[in-house]
């Protein structure tokens, strides 16, 4: 039986009708059109669908939409401000932190959560934060460079 839930997505209140077996990834993509939430393995292994729920990175494919009731959700679409890319997005562009780009939204969402709690991470800390995000192109070195560069940019304001 479908249920009506309210949640805040990218700083806007949304009301959606979801089934108990609708995942948050399905809800965000199919009902709210946020296709930056990439679904790859759909089993919580690859991290491509990573979003922030109340600021914490989670796999959207492993969340039931009804359990997101009243939560604040941020997707990759919510990072840019006034037409300007977020510094992390900008760093990924400048340092070629992607090849095919499928894993990129998930990588950037985890990087965002990491830099929020740790503005000056070491390379090892970046690697351990990104352990749940798989890049099958193997762009890891440039992804790590991008995150470290974004951290520096954000610290310098």
């Amino acid at each position: 039986m479908a249920e009506r839930i309210e949640l805040r997505v990218n700083d806007r209140n949304q009301v959606v009708e979801v089934e108990p077996f609708t995942t948050l990834a399905e809800c965000l993509r199919n009902q709210l059109g946020l296709i930056g939430v990439r679904v790859s393995c759909n089993q919580g292994d690859c991290g491509a669908c990573t979003i922030l729920v109340d600021g914490q990175p989670v796999n959207a494919c492993m969340e039931l939409a009804i359990e997101a009731e009243g939560r604040s959700v941020t997707t990759i679409e919510g990072l840019a401000r006034n037409g300007h890319l977020h510094p992390i997005q900008q760093a990924f562009v400048e340092h070629h932190g992607m090849q095919c780009g499928f894993c990129t939204p998930g990588m950037i969402m985890v990087a965002r959560a990491l830099l929020e709690s740790n503005p000056a991470p070491t390379e090892q800390e970046v690697k351990e934060a990104l352990v749940g995000n798989i890049c099958r192109c193997g762009s890891y070195p440039k992804i790590i460079t991008s995150v470290l560069s974004a951290a520096q940019t954000m610290r310098e304001g």
Binding site: M1, E19, P20, F21, T22, T23, A25, E26, R29, N30, V39, N42, Q43, G44, G47, T50, Q56, P57, V58, N59, M62, E63, L64, I66, E67, V110, A113, E128, A129, V131, G132, N133
Partner: protein, 370 residues
């Protein structure tokens, strides 16, 4: 669990026809008939239809589980259950999912009591790894929680779920429920003659899968107990006795309510080490948790518990006996590490776990002596 006779015959036939996990296309057809995909769904691994219940007390949750029997599945963080549902790897598809998130007061507490730590079964692994109390006084538990899996997983996975998740075996967990093994009421263990590189080298009585819990070795080393509530009231069992050669002691309507960890003795030191396929954030190929009291370089008490090598957290009693009353020297450490792997019964592809267990224990003891 009930499975249609024809269905059982079909999957058995397909399991025999191929030597490695492979889906019978008829099984896929059967799924598609079973539940219609949600319109515009993004993947074939969609969740099956179910009713979602959110009881508000533990007693009510137990009653709901009793009422629905095998048709109900209990969910805490959902990291394991949702995967099982998506891959259709349960013997019977549950029709009711019972969430513990509506229970009041919430079960996600981590608090210090008189005799130790009380952890609500919904406390996430992330909470354990970041809690100052756990990090300072129960370090091996915080380290095990941190090394369990990725950040996204730890934000949702709970300690109750970590203890109750399904065994790690690619046969019993295969998509479409293709292998009717002991765990599913069958009469075979496919891993013993198939690909068993990640399976157990100790304590293989019925099933060869290893205990999936990331925190169990640390909890067992700390002497923790699991508080369970069920239809006939409550009971409490040591973590070591919670796991059985065939899974856990939990009855079908029983729920893990709390994990109780006694305060380590003053001066006790712990070491936790883990090796996974890529790094420590993978499920353990082998892990070891050691808790010891060392006075004037002599080992007074010690507990050594291994993960990833047995269907249960594997306590190295013989090695513990060898070390008590001894100084931790190169030779006593080597003797103890050798005693850990005495009596191991490796399968065709997992002999490397003997070397891994021996050297992990050796490294842990050396670190303890530092």
């Amino acid at each position: 669990m009930a499975m249609l006779e024809g269905e059982r015959a079909a999957v058995t036939a397909s399991a025999e026809a191929v030597a490695r996990p492979q889906l019978d296309p008829r099984t896929i057809e059967a799924w598609l008939e079973q539940d219609e995909p949600v319109a515009g769904t993004i993947s074939t691994d969609y969740l099956p239809r179910f009713t979602y219940l959110r009881p508000t007390t533990l007693a009510e949750a137990v009653a709901v589980l009793e009422r629905h029997g095998p048709k109900a599945a209990l969910m805490s963080g959902g990291m394991d259950l949702l995967r099982e549902l998506k891959t259709r790897s349960r013997p019977a598809q549950p029709e009711v999912v019972v969430s513990l998130k509506g229970i009041a007061p919430p079960l996600d507490y981590v608090c210090a009591g008189e005799s130790g730590l009380a952890i609500g079964s919904l406390a996430t692994l992330r909470t354990l790894e970041t809690s100052a109390l756990v990090r300072e006084q129960y370090g091996i538990l915080a380290q095990a929680a941190y090394a369990s899996r990725a950040w996204q997983y730890r934000n949702r996975a709970t300690i109750g779920g970590d203890l109750c998740q399904r065994e790690l075996c690619w046969y019993s967990r295969s998509s479409g429920n293709a292998y009717p093994c002991f765990r599913k009421g069958g009469e075979d263990c496919f891993a013993t003659r198939g690909d068993n590189r990640f399976h157990a080298i100790f304590g293989r009585l019925i099933c060869s899968a290893v205990c999936p819990s990331a925190t169990a070795p640390s909890l067992a080393a700390l002497g923790a107990r699991v508080r369970i509530v069920g239809p006939s009231g409550g009971r409490s069992v040591p973590v070591e006795a919670f796991f059985t050669p065939r899974g856990t002691v939990l009855g079908s309507a029983e729920i893990v309510a709390e994990v109780q960890v006694p305060s380590p003795a003053p001066g006790a030191r712990g070491v936790f080490l883990k090796v996974g396929v890529r790094n420590k954030f993978d499920p353990a190929l082998a892990s070891v948790a050691v808790l010891a009291c060392i006075e004037q370089q002599v080992c007074r008490t010690i507990r050594i518990v291994l993960g990833g090598v047995s269907p249960q957290p594997w306590r190295a009693f013989r090695a513990e006996e060898l070390l008590i009353g001894e100084r931790l020297t190169e030779s006593s450490v080597a003797r103890a590490a050798e005693a850990v792997v005495e009596g191991a019964t490796p399968l065709s592809h997992n002999g490397y776990k003997i070397d891994l267990a021996r050297s992990l224990v050796g490294r842990a003891l050396v670190r303890l002596a530092e």
